[in-house]
Symmetry: C2
Subunit: 412 residues, 2 copies
Amino acid sequence: MFELMSLPLSDRANVMPPSPIRKLAPYADAAKKQGVKVFHLNIGQPDVPSPKEYWDAVKGCELEVLEYSNSAGIAELREKAAADYCKQGIEVTAAQVLVTTAGSESLSIALSIICNPGDEVIIPEPLYANYIGFAAGTGINVVPITTHIENNFALPGSEEFAKRITDRTRAIIICNPGNPTGSTYDREQLESLLKLARDNNLYIIADEVYREFYFDGDRPVSVLQLDGSDENVIMVDSVSKRFSLCGARIGYFVTRNATLMDPAIRFAQARLSSPTLEMLGVIGALDTPLSYYDALRTEYTARRDVLTQRLRAMPGVTCPDIQGAFYAMVQLPIDDCDVFCKWMLEEFRHDNQTVMMAPGTGFYSTPGLGKNQVRIAYVLKIENLHLAMDCLEVALAQYPGRTISAEKVTSQ
Amino acid sequence: MFELMSLPLSDRANVMPPSPIRKLAPYADAAKKQGVKVFHLNIGQPDVPSPKEYWDAVKGCELEVLEYSNSAGIAELREKAAADYCKQGIEVTAAQVLVTTAGSESLSIALSIICNPGDEVIIPEPLYANYIGFAAGTGINVVPITTHIENNFALPGSEEFAKRITDRTRAIIICNPGNPTGSTYDREQLESLLKLARDNNLYIIADEVYREFYFDGDRPVSVLQLDGSDENVIMVDSVSKRFSLCGARIGYFVTRNATLMDPAIRFAQARLSSPTLEMLGVIGALDTPLSYYDALRTEYTARRDVLTQRLRAMPGVTCPDIQGAFYAMVQLPIDDCDVFCKWMLEEFRHDNQTVMMAPGTGFYSTPGLGKNQVRIAYVLKIENLHLAMDCLEVALAQYPGRTISAEKVTSQ
């Protein structure tokens, strides 16, 4: 047995965090085995049906052999995705769109080709937890800028980014609309960030997978729509949320900088191909009529409104204004979100139901932050969202680690 | 424009090689556009139809929403894959099988969790070119042991491995049956390697994706069938070749060492999920009757025999004995395989046909080796294999950089 003791693991194996979105899954499974209904607000898995056009393309596939595809993606998909971007005012060619195995791989390739181990990327926090994972996997240091619930997690001004630039800084990562905060960035904010990046030879990696999810006003500007975005910008995209195709694992790495596309394609060659049948399905999904998105936005706007209203009616709960995506980073009157979320799954029941949420700590790179926050993905039908909020309200009154008095809770 | 000049790329972006299997694809595409028939012997893409059971499962899928799956794979697939291994005499449980996005991701996770940048892995060469890619992506140094066509690329004895162990060595990678050599390793060789690994606290990463492709005698032993394989062994597997499902991107990371499985699952969580529908398809494919494999072996044995016979009849060509997989690493009377393979696509035509092969240089980690070798994947029907060999024979007589006299060639 002493061999086992001395067989080494790598540093990245040790620092790779468990996903805060998924680490409590065994407790949810155990609850379900007891017959308890678990409302999943932990993961950005929309309940909207995937487009008929996707299913038709997949089920109508007449291939006999499911072959590898071109490493950069099926040519027709690259063409069609580029045409779709152009329709949205994002001018790119097929050669500027690399098909990836979901947004995850797109981001992972982006970090790999621009950063050496030990290099730094600046990211506003709370941040999408998996950014920490990808950084761990590639040996990169996350330099966070903490944003605050009091002002709805507004993007810090470019001077805050400027203060954190060192000779190891390679990129700024933004998520617009933002996971987990629901914040969106306007054109002026993006322009000022791009100027900072250009002045300091940094890249901007813009995760825009929630582009279709905006609730008030116009679609957020893509960073690739800005003047001067040819060299410094990589856009990370995915069909997962837009088409309710999280399981397809198809995304895009988009840049007009050919010097970046070349190594990105070599990285793509090393893993051979993205899933062929899924690409064929997405070629179909790109014919989805625009009314699909309109219905999506109407539905999610209503869900956001219900969520916001219900949370704000709970004593001691802070729910920020939410402009896009389908998450809320919410502050609760609790001592420790990891304990609370686990307690919800293991011990709490309300009408034999409970709620799974993602502990807030996993969305901060700064240790110790987010302890009284949770991320809620409002991806359920309104009826179920109400039931989930009923559970949360009762749970907050019963939780042993609550930080406001029980009287105050029950008096409301 | 000077911003572009100073926007940095990472070291790994610079060292990631283009795939020798795919880098000539633009020349093949150009030839096809001219109406030329190109026989693809460059890539291990079998022409055998994917199992009906796969297509039935995919097309019969009744999901409305294509959701994320468990990061470690759909539970039913893990169970069924484990049961399938047990049937083959490889005793593993579902918890010891992590579903990955093809063998590529399995290997990439394996290297990531056991090696720090700068660590070393020992690999017999010629080797599967993408090992060099994965090592480049993770900052790992490949330490090759050159094997030789004269003795059919036989696996070097464990003393050759022992000589190359340093304090940075973390693993030995073997591919059994071997891509690109077609060599297989017997139980005794594997036992001696495992002993070496155990004595030196190294891992063995065994790429066994060609397990079903053996032509003479019994199925090669899996390294997980050896006594003492619980701690030191990671098996990399894939359904790509076995089920002619290269485009599905489903593979497995298999180990009995729970200390390895834990970080492997954290890496899997960072990328969320493998493709859901493809996993459902593979659950179906696992019901493929054993006769599918028997037919596969009969067909590939016949192809190997044709290939070997045809190549050996060409002057100046050396074709080794091939025991498994579906590749041959062949020595040709040429000056430079990269020039030759490109010339075949750009300039050579025989009855308006030509052949695409993978230049041998990409399968060696030692610079300068393999210059007069090519890798041939004999994945075509025998009739087409004959036509491809006709092309190659004529091409070798016409190629300006041939290294034997034209008289000798044409006199045969």
